[in-house]
Structures are given as C-alpha cells and as structure tokens.
Amino acid sequence: MQGLLNFLYHVGAFSRLLFYMLRGLREIRKLPGLIVQSIAHIGLGSLPLVAVASVFTGMVASVQTAYQVRDYVPLDFLGAGVAKAIMVELGPVLTALVVAGRVGAGIAAELGTMRVTEQIDALELMAIDPVRFLVLPRVIAGTIAIPLLTVIAEVVALIGSAVISYLVVQVSFATFFHGVQLFFLPKDLWGGLLKSVVFGFLITFLGCFYGFHAEGGAVGVGRATTRAVVASALAVLMFDYILGSLIYG
C-alpha cells in the first residue's frame, strides 16, 4: 500500500513539475542566456570525463569483440561490429551514465542546497518563477548537450577502438574504417542519438526534481543527490530497453 502511494505521489509530482516547465516556456525569451550557460556547464564540464570513459570503452570494445568473433568471423569486419555497438548502445548509454553521475548529482545538490537555504523561496518572493528560472534552462540544456556529448564520445570511442585494433590484433586503420562503413545504417546513428536526447531530458529532469524537492538540511541534500543519481541511472537503463526495442526491435 505504501509502495503504491509512493508511486502515485511520484507520478503526481513529476506531472506537476512537467506542467510548470511547460508553463515556463511562455517566458522562453528570458531563457537563452541561462540555457547557453547550462550547456557550457553540462557539455564542456563533462567533456574530459566523457572523453576518457569513451576512449577506454572503444578500446575494450575492440579487444572484447576480437576475442569473441576471431574464430568464426574475419577480423576485417571488426570495425563494423564495434561501430554498431558504439553507435547503438555503448555511446549513448555510457555517456548518459557518466553524465548522470556528474551532472545529475550536481544539479540535485545545487538545487537542493538552494531549497534548504531558502534561495528558492527568495526567487518566489521576488516574483521569479523558480521552475522557469532554475529547472527549465537546465533540462533544455541537458537535452541539447548530452546528444552533442554522445557524438563526441562515439568519435573518440571509434578512434580508441581503431588504435587498439591496430596495436593488438593488427587490423589496419583503412580496414577498420572500411568495416565501419560497410554495414553502416543511418538508423544506427540517429537511433542512438534519439536515445541520448531522451537520456539528456531524463537525467536533468530527475536531478532538478529531487533537488527541487529536497528538505531537511545537509542530510536532505545528500539524500536528494543519491536519489537523483540512482533514479537517473535506472531510468536510462529502462528507457534504453524501451527505445532500443522500438527503434531496432
């Protein structure tokens, strides 16, 4: 019973925040500066971490794929298999999980602190809609920045993969990238990017949601941050399956 009530509470609270965000769109002319600032924070701030995660992902993908298929598929096709895995799955999901840890937690902690130190009340009393001012720019920025990060992550992962393929299993760059092109379908790219748009929305929305509803001082901020990261990671994995089934199923 408690679980059902908790579920209904979350459905109601998510819907309310979503409604307030849509209402805030009426004043979108006040947002461009804040959106650009948030894109810089989310995108540029996460770039080094995403790049490092991606290069290792690409390298591991090469080694693992080579190990699994070398007995029955010529390694000339290594690039094809790795590229598909990166574009369809690894790029969007790993970027999202890395960003969920950094950005989702950061947003929840920032907004949670603003809540418990009455900064959000201060906005209300200045007649500034806090959802329009704090939530909307971050969610729009996340929805734009995370797909851009995903593209960069995929490029970096492919380069890492190509280098390791050359060094470990002696597949030349030309052969590797020929393989990438050979079985490429546009759906591989746009499907992955569509997923990353949804992930970007989910991560920033959940970070904002838990931060915005934080209560009870530093402990409350910590709890909100943990919930934001856990919920974002679970939502990313759940929507990865749903979208993956719809696009590629």
Binding site: E118, Q119, A127, I128
Partner: protein
C-alpha cells in the same frame, strides 16, 4: 494594509497557528516576538503567500492572498521585500547580480538597474562591494546585502525574518540602526519577526507576542514595560542587566 483573520495552520497534525488575527496599518513597523517554534516565520510565510492556511485568511491591500492565482500572487509580491534569516543570497552571483536579478526579470533597462543597485547598496553602506561574491563577505554584510536586495525593487511592505539572529551584538546593532533609518527615510510598512527583544524595542512601533498559535499581547512599544503579562515580562527579563 495587512489584515490576518482567524488563521489556522498545522503541520503533520501538529497545530502551529490556532486562530491568529492581526492588523498592520500602513507605515507601521510591527515586531512579532515569540519563542522558537511559536509560528512567527509561519505567519510571515502566510502573509507573502508561501504557505496556504488550513482555515482563516490574509488580506494585503484589497487582495485576499490565499485565493490569488499564481500570476496575481506574483504581481502582489512585487510590492514585497523580504529579508531572510540566513540572507538567502544566490551564491553563484555577485552582490551586484544578486540585486539586479529581480529588476532584470522585470525588464528594467540596464542603466536604471545600475542606478537602483547603487542606491540600494549606498543605503546599507556597502558601496564598492558590487563585484564580491556572498562567500567573500561576512555574515553581517550578507544580511545588509539581503536588505539591499529587498529594497532594490522599491517595495511597499518589508518583511524581516530574524535579521539579527546569529550576529554579534555590534553587528546586530548596525542592522537595527539600518532598519530604523529605512523606516525614517522610506516610511515603509514593516514586519519584523524576531526573538531579540532589544531589536524589537529599538525598531518597532508596536510589539506583538505570539504564544500557542495566537496573539497573546499586542501593545505599542512605549507601553511594553507597563504591561503586566508574565510571558512578555520573561522576554523583557532577557535584556535587563542581571544583579546579584
């Protein structure tokens, strides 16, 4: 004018306000005193529409606050200035940006914003601190920036929530002096929520004592010492010099 009628509010079944009624005239400064947890801040949050009452209502000018739709409530809030207990400054913004924020949001032209920010900072004695971040200034200065931010929108009503709490006596006196000067210079209607009797006696015209969710005493400050209420006398005791 502010009129509070028979206000009731409980949190998780625990009553905080129990039939509170109060009227605050234009230009008046009222100090609301009470022990911790007596509902002082809850009362203030009802006046500005941050909380909705379980029963009763609040009138500000001709508007019934709990019944206002969001847009009308925001419109009404433009008449308010609110000084928070912990200043509630935006720590990612400089002092200047903190003060400019509500004006920018209202579409005030930038030269006018600059003039009003500088005027507000001058009033609180903080000229030259425009480029500092809240983390770079002392607690007392943060409170004064909080006052400046409340003033910059030229409010009709000014609410102070425990403005001297947590400050040393010298800094607290500077905040008191500031509140007195603003009252004399601007004649704004003000509500001061505090448990600092010294501050209340120096700044307010009238003193209201909250107890058990109701107004226990409401007297002009000139009559405080002659009011034979034991709880009020307990508060006065706190500022009398102790003798063996």
């Amino acid at each position: 004018m502010i009129r509070i009628e028979n206000l009731y509010k409980a949190f998780e079944g625990k009553p905080v306000l129990q039939g509170l009624s109060l009227e605050i005239a234009d230009g008046e400064t009222v100090a609301v005193l009470g022990k911790s947890g007596s509902g002082k801040t809850v009362l203030l949050k009802h006046i500005v529409g941050l909380l909705k009452p379980d029963r009763g209502t609040v009138w500000v000018d001709r508007y019934e606050v709990p019944r206002l739709k969001r847009r009308a409530l925001y419109e009404l809030r433009r008449r308010f200035g609110f000084v928070f207990q912990a200043a509630a400054l935006f720590d990612s913004l400089t002092v200047y940006e903190n003060l400019a924020l509500p004006l920018r949001d209202r579409g005030v032209p930038e030269p006018e914003i600059r003039r009003r920010v500088q005027e507000a900072l001058r009033r609180v004695g903080l000229e030259g601190s425009e480029n500092l971040y809240p983390s770079e200034i002392s607690g007392g200065m943060q409170k004064r920036v909080g006052v400046a931010r409340a003033l910059v929108t030229e409010p009709r009503y000014l609410f102070y929530d425990e403005p001297t709490t947590g400050l040393d006596p010298v800094t607290a006196d500077r905040i008191n002096d500031l509140m007195i000067r603003l009252k004399q210079e601007l004649g704004i209607t003000a509500v001061l929520v505090t448990h600092d009797m010294r501050s209340a006696l120096r700044v307010a015209d009238r003193l209201v004592l909250l107890s058990q969710g109701r107004i226990r005493v409401s007297v002009p400050v000139t009559e405080v010492f002659s009011t034979p209420d034991p709880e009020l006398q307990d508060f006065l005791e706190s500022i009398r010099p102790k003798t063996e």
